[in-house]
Symmetry: C2
């Protein structure tokens, strides 16, 4: 609040018309207020990877979205980061900055409007507080890591339209998400028109008459403020916001906007959202189903993000039929497909991390993609992970309300009713407690896939036995001359049983409970004694 | 018994040396005995597709297997069927004939031994008794039918070595089979050496010293009598005997016999077994694993069967890796593969019936192929059937006895302990009560396979919903302007619930119980009223 007040005061003074004397007086006032010899400022410090926001007052008249140019250069030790600002309504012009290095930064604004031009300030970027690991990027070709080096093992879910359902449902969704099942969520920026989601959104992205005549040159800042509020809340929960830029579930016309509007929209969301460290850019949901756009369009959008997002957030294009691979600017392979066992095939072929954003959902609705059993979805997570990929969850479980207005997690959020989230969290905890990064390896034993084991050197192995089989005995191959603690994991009942002896070498006979959905963890122990 | 006595008497007379007078006397005796003017005979009548067997006494000295040629020509209305005979030990030479048309047949024997040559007789082939449908052959490219036109829907099981376990276990196996779960069984002619089957067989196929020196020129008739006794017992239960000619699970040398021995063995089993109407010839189990034999060898064996089996019994070659397709003489595609959904792909590509003889087994042993859950195997049956193929069962369930000596159905027979046989029988009864033949059709609704529905014209539809999904509602497409009775089938709990109203046209909303493994049967009813 200090920020706005200080800012407002400076602007008021500036508007009077300045003389040398007046400028000196302002400088003195600013010095007293701790803003030193810059004539405009905001916060004076910000945590690394958090958001520094500068707000200036500017014109309200005309069309601020199209007529006012506003940006700022942030500078530290010779590097300059140029950031587009955006109009937030009511005469407020903002620019947001996520500093990626600590220490002092200075900035200066640029505009075709005098009041918004040449405003200078500085800030100190302080070390990140605990839990702030920075944005996620690709690590070692097939993996993800936060900027501070912490591994990010993606365990996503999907709530396409949760930000368009109003506050009370959104708060419930956040409460559900706070249980730690997932660390990524896929969500649509535009409202959604699809089965189980026919309600109007609370806000619209543009000014104009809903469903008759939008003014595509004027954004509705309230719409975007709502979204960024949710992005920030997700960030506080440690959840990546995988933002879907375009999608085909539309009755308002946002699927078929002209190319100038599309580009203006992309630049606007970059200006607003890119400073949130937890943002991922997903060009599309089911790009193949958006008939108004060509492969060249998707390539162009990827380029716009790559050129204008100074933080280089992750970029993907989610498919319906054919997987999108037609641009080197995708940072990871975003896949809709049921066969998560193909992770290894995709990563080997395309040399990028593989994210099965959609392998169908736990549910019971009238579509095969929305009526998986919890066992099947849990299985698809394990198979995808063991084959070197990442998998996403979704839930379409009808309970008492069998109507199209039912609140399904996959569309609107709310509460989770299924049995898979706990099992996914169980897997997530196993992976998070393993050494990073685990690599898929071919197992000696025959199995339905190419791969059924992850390893970290010869220190750690994790093997999965698909839930269609239920052995009472399992042959385990381990390196010779090294001792391993072996644990039998029940992926469904979420139990981990440590075997009393250590194992080494080939063809170890491991007693198994004859139940489906088992896994085995093998951890090397050097002293020849099983760890506690 | 009359047969042997009559036969013996005729031979005795013949041996004395004949004059015209004596011949006349014999003819008179024969006439009185109902054998008219033929000087040798056996039964006087046989049911169509049952076995007429002629036994003559011949030399016991030397090597009857290699030195004595013995065959017979059976003749009716200008057609001649030439049949190889075989030596059954103790001076007995036999020829077996399965007449395929009714009425009078005559025969004459041929041999390089005077006592076995030129013996004539006749028989009357009578109509088949109820339950005798004749042998199975291919029908309408993709299906099977008995010779009398009755459809044969193959529901197989596997007891590789059940005939080599002695009488008491074999009788138990037959008792189990009498429950009607299956109508085909895969079984090895040679004894088996493999996990869970390390015991010696009761008999050996050749004379000689077990494991040291076989006399491959001398068969052990007791060995083959044991097998044909079992084939006959299977026939009495209406079960096809899918006889495996060669297999790789061997410690006795039968996998690696020389080509002359292999051919002699094939001719011998044709002579002995071909007259059993329920015989199928399977050249191999897992042909790819038999290193001693080439593709050309398998082609040669198929040719031997095709040329020498006068009844043209079904012929297949069962694979481990690559499916065998390298001969036009296979009558059906015999497949080992877990993906029974590929039935449609195979049948379309190869234009033959597709039999998934092995899609892995219900069990809990230490191998992925032997530890399927009952649900998974039941699912694979439904998927294979819906996609236009046939599927085989196997069971490798360890109960209390976890040793390698455990009696597993798949290897030794005995009792069935699993949960899939009842479900398979449930499916079998559904298919058997449907109009023949059902054709796989693409469904309007999206599904994980190409095919999820069978149809008979527009009269009958059977749709399967895979057990990984659990809808509470299902959209059903039916032809317009026709009424259908709709039944919801629970493939696991084996219930069939008839819906109270009739359905017609597209997008019928069918209430479903939200459980996995459901199917839907749709039967056209013309009067607009649901049938009872």
């Amino acid at each position: 609040m200090l920020f706005n007040r200080v800012n407002g005061k400076c602007q008021l003074l500036t508007k009077k018309g300045t003389t040398m004397k007046l400028k000196l007086m302002i400088a003195c006032i600013c010095f007293v207020l701790g803003i030193q010899n810059y004539n405009v400022s905001a916060q004076t410090q910000v945590e690394r990877w958090k958001i520094f926001e500068l707000t200036l007052n500017g014109p309200k008249t005309g069309n601020p979205f199209t007529e006012v140019e506003f940006s700022a250069d942030f500078q530290q030790a010779g590097q300059i980061i140029s950031l587009a600002g955006f109009y937030d309504g009511e005469g407020k012009y903002k620019v947001r900055f996520m500093p990626q290095s600590e220490g002092e930064w200075t900035y200066v604004t640029k505009s075709n409007i005098r009041d918004l031009n040449g405003k200078k300030g500085k800030l100190v970027c302080t070390p990140p507080s605990p839990g702030n690991h920075g944005p996620v990027s690709v690590k070692d070709t097939f993996y993800f890591a936060y900027a501070d080096g912490t591994p990010h093992h993606s365990f996503g879910t999907t709530c396409y339209a949760w930000v368009h359902q109003g506050d009370s449902l959104a708060e419930l969704t956040l409460k559900t998400l706070s249980n730690g099942y997932f660390n990524k969520i896929r969500m649509c920026l535009f409202p959604k028109d699809y089965r189980y989601n026919k309600n109007e959104p609370e806000y619209y992205p543009f000014e104009g008459e809903p469903l008759t005549k939008w003014d595509y040159t004027r954004f509705n800042p309230a719409y975007f403020r709502n979204i960024e509020k949710r992005i920030g809340q997700l960030d506080a929960l440690g959840i990546q916001a995988d933002l879907i830029v375009f999608h085909p579930y539309d009755r308002w016309g946002f699927e078929n906007m002209d190319s100038v509007t599309n580009e203006r929209y992309i630049r606007y969301i970059i200006a607003r959202f890119a400073a949130y460290k937890n943002v991922w850019w997903s060009m599309a949901n089911e790009y193949n189903l958006i008939r108004s756009k060509t492969i060249a369009d998707w390539q162009r959008y990827l380029q716009l993000f790559a050129e204008n997002d100074p933080y280089n957030h992750l970029r993907g294009v989610h498919n319906s039929g054919t997987v999108f691979t037609e641009s080197p600017l995708i940072t990871h392979i975003s896949i809709q497909n049921r066969e998560t066992a193909r992770s290894y095939e995709y990563r080997t072929k395309l040399n990028k991390p593989v994210v099965y954003d959609e392998c169908k959902y736990e549910g019971n609705i009238e579509r095969p993609w929305g009526s998986l059993t919890a066992r099947e979805l849990t299985h698809r997570f394990w198979v995808g992970m063991i084959n070197g990929g990442y998998v996403g969850h979704g839930e379409t479980l009808l309970t008492d309300d069998l109507e199209q207005s039912a609140v399904l997690w996959w569309s609107k959020g709310g509460t989770l009713k299924g049995e898979s989230p706990e099992r996914i969290k169980f897997l997530k905890e196993i992976i998070e407690s393993a050494p990073a990064y685990l690599e898929p390896v071919k197992s000696g034993s025959r199995n339905p896939w190419n791969i059924n084991r992850l390893s970290f050197k010869e220190e750690y192995f994790l093997e999965y036995i698909p839930y269609e089989i239920q052995p009472v005995l399992h042959y385990l191959n381990l390196p010779e001359g090294k001792n391993y603690e072996v644990e039998v994991i029940d992926t469904w009942n979420m139990t981990i049983e440590k075997l009393p002896k250590l194992y080494s070498g080939k063809n170890n006979k491991i007693p198994m409970p004859g139940k489906p959905g088992m896994a085995i963890r093998m951890v090397r122990t050097d002293n020849g004694v099983a760890p506690n």
